[in-house]
């Protein structure tokens, strides 16, 4: 077990290193002059000398491999550099932004799991085919609706037409409701689709017939046998779902004018503040890797078929076929 853990942690670190490399390549090696972006685009009042000074300050005058090694060394010591726009350390900015985002992400995830999971289970357990069809039609709809528009529609409805919740800001639990719902929509739709596909596959398994043949009731069959098996493949998608929450936060926090990681991302991209953007990307990768590590450690406990030494864990869980995301609705629908 300790050996397994060591291997997995090493793999996780490998992914992080690679994520750093990717973000470096994207941000600093793509064509486009980061320095002129830094000092304000095409402003002509900047002398070449000033540009060079900035280049030297951020190390952009050195060749790319040298920059890569230098920044990697900094990152390893926990130094993500300084924001170009504000001059503050990136770690500090990230630290401030994490809290509010965790709040709406947790609330959103909760809603997504309860509503999305409940919808999938309900649709497959009900004997009313029309109801099942209706329930299964919802997730594809949820995936298609742009969440920025959904957030605005919520504001229109529940802040203006019926003034129940504040439209902006982050004071008190009431301000959490609409952002959490906005964030939960795409996440919940994906949860419902993945779980639905898994449930549908599981329901076809002959062991479900065995359970019915024992005289077990619907609750026992659907929750005890079907969901217990169907949840396992869905569990491996947790990492992607959490990553999706972070993407959603960018839009949600902009719509509701809340401070947080998402807002920080939007403003940093707007200002082309590359060190901050790289910090956020690295943070997202850390979260993803950590979540998957936990899932991998929990998975063998829940599924006795998986040996704890399996190499399969090395692969990031994600659907290999579009069908796994698409097949939530029955083929006839």
């Amino acid at each position: 077990m300790t050996r397994y853990l060591a291997v997995r942690v090493a793999q996780a670190l490998g992914v992080l290193w690679a994520a750093y490399t990717v973000s470096f390549l994207v941000l600093f090696a793509l064509p486009g002059d980061p320095v002129s972006a830094l000092v304000g685009g095409d402003s002509s009042d900047v002398t070449p000398e000033q540009l060079d000074a900035v280049r030297a300050e951020y190390g952009f005058d050195r060749p790319l491999p040298a920059q890569y090694v230098h920044r990697l060394g900094q990152v390893l010591t926990g130094d993500l550099g300084r924001s170009v726009a504000t001059g503050r350390p990136v770690t500090e900015l990230l630290g401030e932004a994490v809290g509010p985002t965790v709040q709406i992400a947790a609330a959103g995830l909760l809603v997504a799991l309860v509503v999305g999971g409940g919808l999938a289970v309900g649709a497959h357990a009900t004997r009313h085919r029309v109801l099942a069809g209706l329930l299964l039609a919802l997730p594809p709809l949820g995936v298609a609706v742009p969440s920025f528009w959904f957030g605005l529609a919520l504001v229109q409805l529940f802040s203006f037409t019926f003034p129940l919740f504040p439209a902006v800001g982050q004071k008190g639990p009431a301000s959490l409701v609409l952002p959490a719902l906005t964030l939960a929509l795409p996440t919940g739709a994906v949860v419902a689709q993945v779980l639905s596909a898994s449930l549908r596959r599981t329901l076809r398994e002959p062991f479900v017939d065995t359970a019915w043949a024992k005289g077990a009731g619907p609750t026992r069959v659907h929750l005890g046998h079907v969901l217990r098996n169907a949840a396992l493949p869905a569990l491996t998608m947790t990492g992607l779902v959490v990553g999706g929450l972070l993407s959603g936060a960018v839009v949600t926090e902009t719509v509701f004018s809340r401070a947080g990681l998402g807002r920080l991302t939007a403003t940093s991209v707007g200002a082309q503040d590359l060190p901050v953007v790289q910090g956020i990307v690295l943070l997202a990768a850390v979260v993803f890797v950590a979540v998957n590590l936990v899932v991998d450690l929990v998975h063998p406990v829940l599924d006795p078929r998986l040996p704890t030494t399996a190499r399969r864990a090395a692969r990031v869980p994600a659907p290999d076929r579009p069908a796994e995301l698409l097949s939530a609705a029955p083929a006839g629908a």
Binding site: E205, P206, F207, D209, T210, A211, W212, A213, K214, G215, A216, G217, R220, H225, R228, N229, L232, L302, D303, P304, R305, P307, T309, A310, R311, G332
Partner: protein, 598 residues
């Protein structure tokens, strides 16, 4: 029988009356079961026999109330102890399932919940019906597993399904079905996923348990031999209707319905004669089984006659000379597989020192159960896998390490036909493309000559030329296998490796394909390496047989000798496990008595 004695007083254990079930599909209803009636008395075993699509499993599922969502009972009654189950409320049904009616499903490998311990799954029946509390249920579950013949039940109860073998899992499922002491057991092909020796053990045990407890059994099977051996009553179904019912003696000895007669003639385990004996001389029309027309005959004339056979029969003279060079030979073949670290590492020897020779025009059969290494051998023989050591010779030339052109030449001489014709044909291609592709790859002929050759090949395998434009997906299993055979014949190979070529097919289609293969051998003189798990099939087609177990040939020699006077105990065990032997003797006696009666 005790059931018959009490029949006038109390209603039968199970009575199915005029049952009709249809599947509602997008293309309209499919009538899977039409007016089926049958009765099972307490303590009696009734076998429901039929091929795929006959409606036998649907009938069994209707009895236990486990029909697929698309299936609907449109008429009839299913009475258990005189109470109609079809009109009973759901709650009442639930109370009966598991308690009065036990169900043994088809495939033990997928019929147990993979994430729940085996003991718990048995105990669940008792818990559901309130027959025991948590602790006593556990104790009783272990006891039920013991009664089901599972060794070390205390240990097994703590294990998960994937840790048990297929046979053990089937015993667990029997324990689940029997733990509450049901009056009726419905077993849906309980052993068809298992090896023949395991099948025999399981069926023996099932018989033992049900006789002891006086349980009535509805045994669904595709195997007439199994039915004949195990049942007091046989009900034969075809296309949704019961075509014949009676005791094994009646059904096997004096079958009245043509379908039963045909089924009987096709059942390999009940066929006494070798197909060779029935073989017509070259030039004579091939034996089309008149009673059982293959689906292909719907599209055109049946088997191609000598008129259309452009290939000269080079066989006859060749086969006679026993000194001829073997077409295919393997010597001291060894194949090791590295085991994954999860499985404990090391290597597994799948094939161990195997050697045999396939002479021109002859058939060598490799027989064994799953894991015996017979399919690995097939792959080695056609160089789709590389042996760890040993030699593969084609026409006397060593091709073990052949590469490139030499390898392609060797492969031309030895072609393969796979078990599953659904997987071995590119689903998007037309039959013409499929059959001519070997020629195209070998750059033989023009498009036009290849097309002519394709028609010729189809004729050879008794498919109409009109099939050329069809896609593989539009063909039936038997037709697809014929296409696969035609493709293998395209390059005029000296030998064909047939990897379980008929085990994915229904019995009647099986018989037709086997007849086709023997016919082709006579006409073309092609040799076969015939891989099979089915001794009865082997008996029909092979000249020599190699019996394999765990990679080792335990016995090899001429079919007549090995299958009548086996020297190795394992061969004897395999032979003893072939179903239908009991019944065969009885039926022979019965028909003899009938013959002498008038």
């Amino acid at each position: 029988m005790s059931g018959q004695a009490s029949a006038p007083v109390s209603p039968p254990l199970l009575r199915v009356v005029d049952l009709a079930v249809e599947y509602r599909t997008r293309r309209g209803p499919v009538h899977a079961v039409r007016g089926v009636s049958l009765t099972v008395e307490a303590g009696q075993t009734v076998a429901l026999v039929g091929e795929s699509g006959s409606g036998k499993s649907t009938t069994a599922h209707a009895v236990v109330g486990l029909l697929a969502p698309a299936a609907h009972v449109t008429a009839g009654r299913v009475e258990l102890d005189g109470r109609d189950l079809l009109t009973a409320p759901r709650r009442e049904l639930r109370a009966l399932r598991g308690l009065r009616v036990g169900f043994v499903p088809q495939d033990p490998t997928v019929s147990l919940n993979p994430v729940v311990r085996v003991g718990e799954q048995v105990a669940e029946v008792l818990r559901v019906h309130g027959l025991a509390d948590r602790r006593t249920a556990r104790v009783e579950a272990v006891e039920a597993l013991r009664r089901a013949g599972l060794p070390d039940p205390e240990v097994r109860a703590q294990q998960y399904p994937h840790e048990l073998s297929g046979g053990m899992r089937q015993r667990v499922l029997i324990a689940i079905a029997m733990v509450a002491g049901p009056g009726l057991l419905v077993a849906d092909e309980p052993t068809s996923a298992l090896d023949v020796t395991v099948q025999r053990q399981i069926l023996d045990h099932l018989e033992h348990v049900t006789t002891e407890t006086g349980t009535g059994v509805l045994l669904v099977t595709h195997d007439l031999g199994v039915a004949a051996d195990r049942a007091q009553q046989i009900v034969v179904m075809s296309q949704g209707v019961v075509v014949e019912a009676g005791t094994p003696d009646e059904v096997l000895g004096r079958p009245r319905h043509p379908y039963t007669q045909a089924l009987l003639a096709a059942a390999p385990s009940l066929r006494t004669s070798r197909a060779h004996a029935l073989r017509p001389a070259p030039g004579e029309a091939a034996p089309a089984d008149a009673r059982l027309a293959d689906a292909s005959s719907a599209d055109g004339p049946p088997v191609g006659s000598s008129r259309t056979d452009a290939r000269p029969a080079r066989a006859a003279s060749d086969t006679a000379t026993s000194a001829s060079v073997p077409v295919l030979e393997v010597r001291d073949l060894v194949k090791d597989f590295a085991l994954s670290r999860a499985a404990g590492g090391g290597t597994l020897r799948a094939v161990d020192g195997l050697g045999f020779r396939v002479l021109p025009g002859q058939t060598v059969a490799l027989v064994g159960e799953s894991g015996s290494g017979k399919s690995t051998t097939a792959r080695l023989a056609v160089r789709l896998a590389d042996p760890t050591s040993g030699q593969v010779l084609v026409d006397g030339a060593d091709v073990t390490r052949a590469r490139g052109r030499a390898l392609r030449e060797a492969r031309r001489r030895v072609q393969v036909v796979y078990q599953n014709p659904y997987a071995s044909l590119n689903p998007g291609w037309s039959v013409e493309q499929l059959v001519t592709d070997p020629l195209r790859v070998a750059r033989e002929g023009t498009r036009r000559t290849r097309r002519d050759r394709a028609a010729e090949l189809l004729d050879l395998v008794a498919l109409p030329a009109s099939a050329l434009g069809r896609r593989a997906a539009e063909l039936s299993g038997g037709q697809r296998q014929r296409v696969a055979i035609a493709r293998a014949l395209a390059l005029e190979p000296a030998a064909m490796v047939l990897d379980e070529p008929v085990s994915a097919l229904d019995v009647s289609v099986q018989a037709q394909v086997l007849d086709l293969l023997t016919d082709l051998q006579t006409r073309l003189g092609v040799s076969y390496l015939f891989i099979s798990h089915d001794l009865a099939v082997v008996r029909q087609v092979a000249h020599d047989v190699v019996v394999m177990r765990r990679g080792v040939a335990v016995e090899q020699g001429p079919v007549e000798r090995v299958l009548t006077a086996p020297e190795h105990p394992y061969t004897a065990e395999l032979l003893g496990a072939v179903p239908g032997r009991r019944a065969l003797a009885a039926a022979a006696a019965a028909s003899a008595s009938v013959g002498s009666a008038p």
